[in-house]
């Protein structure tokens, strides 16, 4: 006997809140029960989920075949890395800068995307995504030095958590990194 309740009703909202609460509890428990390697992998999955939210916005909601999300992930990461390593920025301050950079390049790429449609847009964006690793070697504005070429570069600085967070010790390697 299936049980139904209406979307938007008080009951539905309650179930959703409980679901979110369970998710938060699960996330808080995970670092204590899983080995560090698995925690690192889950961290990576969550970071990817944030990036995929952007893909959902452009592909799911507006129906544009923009499949070059990976290029923008790399763009933001390279911007952050270069600002940290070459200009000595604070780690947290580079995140808005990386977002702004990806935003501007995305705006630029969006202009042709207005005209190209459907399958053709998929073609050109996949081509852009596949071409991106070699674009990091493009010799403008010292891009190869900043990105370290297609091999990438190491960010030696760690993302330090704010002091008020009680859960973990940042000196311990591998966790929350």
């Amino acid at each position: 006997m299936p049980y139904t309740f209406n979307k938007g009703s008080a009951e539905h909202r309650m179930y959703r809140l409980v679901g979110y609460g369970l998710l938060i509890v699960l996330m808080l428990i995970i670092p204590f029960i899983l080995p560090e390697f698995q925690v690192t992998r889950l961290n990576r999955a969550m970071a990817m989920a944030v990036a995929i939210l952007g893909l959902n916005l452009v592909l799911g909601f507006s129906g544009l075949f923009a499949l070059c999300q990976s290029a923008f992930i790399a763009l933001g990461a390279f911007t952050c890395g270069s600002l940290i390593m070459d200009h000595g920025w604070d780690y947290w301050m580079t995140i808005p800068a990386g977002m702004l950079m990806a935003f501007l390049i995305g705006l630029l790429l969006g202009i042709p995307a207005l005209k190209i449609k459907g399958l053709y847009l998929a073609m050109s964006t996949v081509a852009f995504a596949a071409a991106f690793p070699s674009l990091t070697k493009l010799e403008f504005f010292g891009i190869p030095e900043r990105t370290g070429g297609a091999n990438g570069r190491d960010i030696t600085e760690k993302l330090n958590p704010p002091d008020w967070m009680p859960i973990f010790d940042a000196t311990e390697p591998g966790r929350y990194r």
Binding site: Y120, M123, A130
Partner: protein
């Protein structure tokens, strides 16, 4: 002048590589009106099949290994078409694009898992094993080098072989598509699927046939280019970008257009980049920045989406 001619020759040499991936892509587009993003990877796995037959496991004759690899690749293509793509409506682009991209990553990771991402060492060159002209190819790193040739041009021998093989491939495709009954049915399906179903063509079989043909020729192309661009799972990654540009430039439903588009992209890349960027970096195919084909792709799709030789699709608003 010599440098200019050399750049044209380089462009044609690289263009042949792009054509070998663009042609199967166009074949699949003709059959099913979808872009097979996995085409480069399917060709790559075909080259690995031949590598296994010829070197790793059975040490067969290279020609025999090539034929077996082509058959296997065709079977793989047919299986992918039958099991993954048949049940989706090809006019709804989202699922089929996602599936071909998924096949791309699956095949790439699969090959990387089995043969790892290092470039394979002794890759046999099919051209050396050919019955009559193989000995002419073998033992020369290049002919018409500056010592033998007053113009000082350098033409790589296997590029000549590749262009020749490409012409043979095109002739064979032309024969298959225009002179056989299967080809007639294929052209019918590619022109109008519903009508050809009404006149009694088994559309499903024709789609399988198109995929098999495309994958077999793709595998042959990859086997031919593998000695030049090294045999490794990512060998087709950059080639894919050029081939997409080539297929779009020549027209997505024109086989000859794709071949010409490949050469055009190669020429454009080598000549334009040759004068804009550093000359030395052109020598390596994979190190050259891929900005050129992406820009070409955007320009072509913006102003002339049907390409040079493609048929224009008319949409009813």
């Amino acid at each position: 002048m010599t440098l200019f001619l050399q750049r044209i020759i380089d462009g044609l040499q690289n263009g042949a590589i792009y054509s070998t991936v663009a042609i199967p892509m166009v074949l699949i587009f003709k059959a099913t009106t979808l872009i097979n993003f996995a085409q480069g990877e399917l060709a790559m796995i075909g080259a690995f099949f031949a590598f296994v037959f010829a070197v790793q496991a059975f040490s067969m004759n290279v020609i025999l290994a090539t034929i077996l690899a082509m058959i296997l690749a065709a079977a793989l293509g047919m299986a992918i078409e039958r099991t993954m793509l048949r049940s989706f409506d090809p006019t709804d682009h989202l699922p089929v694009v996602l599936i071909t991209l998924g096949v791309f990553y699956i095949v790439n990771a699969f090959a990387g898992d089995i043969w790892n991402y290092q470039a394979q060492g002794d890759v046999p060159n099919l051209l050396y094993e050919l019955p009559f002209i193989g000995s002419w190819f073998e033992g020369r790193s290049s002919f018409l080098t500056s010592e033998t040739n007053r113009l000082g041009l350098r033409i790589q021998h296997d590029s000549v072989g590749l262009i020749g093989a490409l012409l043979i491939m095109l002739t064979a495709l032309h024969f298959i598509l225009n002179r056989t009954k299967m080809g007639l049915a294929f052209r019918g399906v590619s022109s109008n699927t519903e009508s050809s179903r009404l006149v009694g063509i088994r559309v499903g079989r024709i789609l399988s046939f198109g995929w098999g043909l495309a994958c077999a020729f793709g595998a042959l192309g990859a086997i031919l280019v593998a000695p030049r661009i090294t045999l490794q799972p990512n060998m087709m990654l950059t080639v894919l970008v050029y081939s997409l540009a080539a297929a779009a430039f020549g027209g997505l439903d024109s086989v000859g257009g794709a071949a010409l588009g490949g050469f055009a992209v190669g020429l454009l890349n080598s000549v334009v980049l040759g004068y804009v960027a550093d000359v030395d970096r052109l020598s390596s195919l994979t190190a050259a920045p891929l900005l050129m084909p992406v820009i070409l792709l955007l320009v072509v799709l913006w102003f002339k989406p049907q390409g040079l030789f493609g048929t224009k699709t008319v949409e009813r608003v």
